[in-house]
Symmetry: D2
Subunit: 201 residues, 4 copies
């Protein structure tokens, strides 16, 4: 018999639902504008993250590629050189992953635009970023000075461990950003299928 599954599932859905009201429209609009101009000007987008945040980044990069972006993942085999004006999307719940911060520093030194997805707008990553998308995460919500957020969410005991909430909200935010870009760029699903990998075996 399932013991914790449903409570966990529903609390994740609830967390997702509440999060939309905690994310700044103007931050999201800035990101959409940036990506739209990157696409129209043929600049490149790189994503970086460690652990599960890195997987969220890869999922986003894959969809950007389906949209026709020149998108790449830092650390994979096929990652070309970046130039001033290219964009780095750096994902770290804590904003303190050493490898992500180091990559963001290199990106800044090359004149790239750095976008941080993090729960901590005061973190080292957020401080050096040109643009910050503040994503609600469990750690954030459980901070005492944010008890109103916790109450809003009706969460008494967080069930999902570690950074699960941050990663999930980031995933849905980035997937929704893909829909926004489809709308703005006039790209439909058929166009995307044509870019989809077809030699996966």
């Amino acid at each position: 018999m399932l013991r914790a599954f449903k409570r966990a599932y529903l609390s994740l859905v609830k967390f997702l639902e509440a999060s939309i009201n905690l994310i700044s429209d103007s931050e999201l609009d800035s990101l959409a504008n940036l990506l739209e101009s990157v696409y129209r000007e043929g600049r490149k987008v790189f994503v970086v993250g460690v652990g599960r945040s890195g997987l969220v980044g890869r999922a986003f990069a894959m969809r950007l590629m389906h949209l026709g972006f020149s998108a790449y993942v830092v650390g994979e085999t096929i990652t070309p050189s970046a130039r001033a004006g290219d964009v780095l999307i750096a994902i770290s719940g804590s904003g303190r992953s050493a490898a992500v911060v180091a990559t963001a520093e290199v990106a800044k030194s090359l004149g790239m635009k750095v976008v941080a997805l993090t729960s901590y707008p005061d973190s080292p990553l957020a401080k050096l970023a040109d643009m910050v998308i503040t994503i609600p995460g469990r750690t954030k919500v459980s901070q005492e000075d944010r008890w109103e957020v916790r109450q809003l969410l009706g969460l008494h005991e967080p069930l999902a461990p570690l950074g699960t909430q941050f990663e999930l909200v980031s995933q849905v935010v980035l997937d929704s950003m893909i829909s926004e870009l489809m709308y703005r760029l006039g790209i439909d699903e058929e166009d995307m299928k044509e870019q989809h990998a077809n030699v996966e075996a």
Copy 2:
């Protein structure tokens, strides 16, 4: 100004919320039982998937490792040999990804237990699996003979492209399975932190 972002975000949340009632409790309970016994008997779990489904699988494997499982990803550098009784979790929305089906066939020939996460219980992958977790996906919902599902979801026009819904529901199902296993195995977040990679730089 954001055009499609919020509608996309809310439709994904709605899809997630409706999906919980479309997934079989007994399928989920069987999976929890299988994983519990695998853990207690020290057997191995392998995950496989291509594209974004593969990323969902990796995110699950990482959390299984945090729980203390011997979990591996097919195709990564460190993937040991499998033996009869080990488990393969194969993720494919269509149930037709050639590489995933081929891996499942090899697994069966080794005497492994194959668990399929797919939207199609009649697909080649599902047919050769020992256990199927049927996951609602966009394609499924849009089938004519499932119009009641579409109505239930209140979806008039799907906004997220390709397999996004399948991948998202799979992710939340597998994350909730982690909570279920934490409960059953008496593992808390502090235990998991001790297994978490600490040399990511």
Copy 3:
């Protein structure tokens, strides 16, 4: 005190040295011609291999990218769709890796040119390939009907396990192919540095 290190090292060097005379000049020339035309016509190159053969393929793809090719690795995040006329380089010592053969079959069905690097010109992979580069490997050398090769190499007991020799010869062949392409395309090391990833942190 080192016991087997030097014998192993020297036998690998000897194997490499002898192998150059066992690889067909005309096969190598055909590959160089194919890659030269792919470059000039802006077609794409994909590489595929499992295990250590896959790592050899990635190392080659990375250098092709440094040369300015549109090169990709099957199974990585950023792998676009392939079209007729694009090239798949499939690496498998035995020519029997199920995933590699399956990928090559998909490639053929798309009208791609398939190049096989294998020790077995009669293998399933070689049979469906448009072009085969036959690479000496340990297994091949140890076959009874190739005792002359073994004698030529002066190898009495192979020290390196499994596919090590195949992988090493493949690596040096592909690295030398990069030099050949630099010469033919008039690309020098400075040009390549400009393509080299610079946001690795």
Copy 4:
């Protein structure tokens, strides 16, 4: 007609051949002793490197796994937590790759033993390592103060670009270390086949 292929191939073989006399026996013996004790005491080995050096590290980690080591690759999905006494093998020709140096620093702070493979014994990476294996590389050879090495190699014009020589010598050194460990630990190829991944599809 092949233009540069054979010269490149033979110069790589020559470089490999000459390199064995430039690598310190006592450094290699120390590494073999360390790995032997790690194996016997069940400690873990992690490898790290960026770009093609990272691929060399993965190929080594895979063979260590075949030998029965608990070996892992920093940055892959399944990378457990490290403890004091575990070993990090860090590969960087220049000894200056920011991500590799950062990882080595983290490893030191955890009480891990850091082994550096680099061409530069004065580099930041080598300085913080507990053990350095100095590997000849193109850059090193071409330094003016090492003209005797260049002469020894008979190299007038290096044909292979970027770090190719460093990567190749590192690969053969680490493959020969595998043979050394097979000898010391009494492991044969049949034992290794049993550990080899068998669900690659």
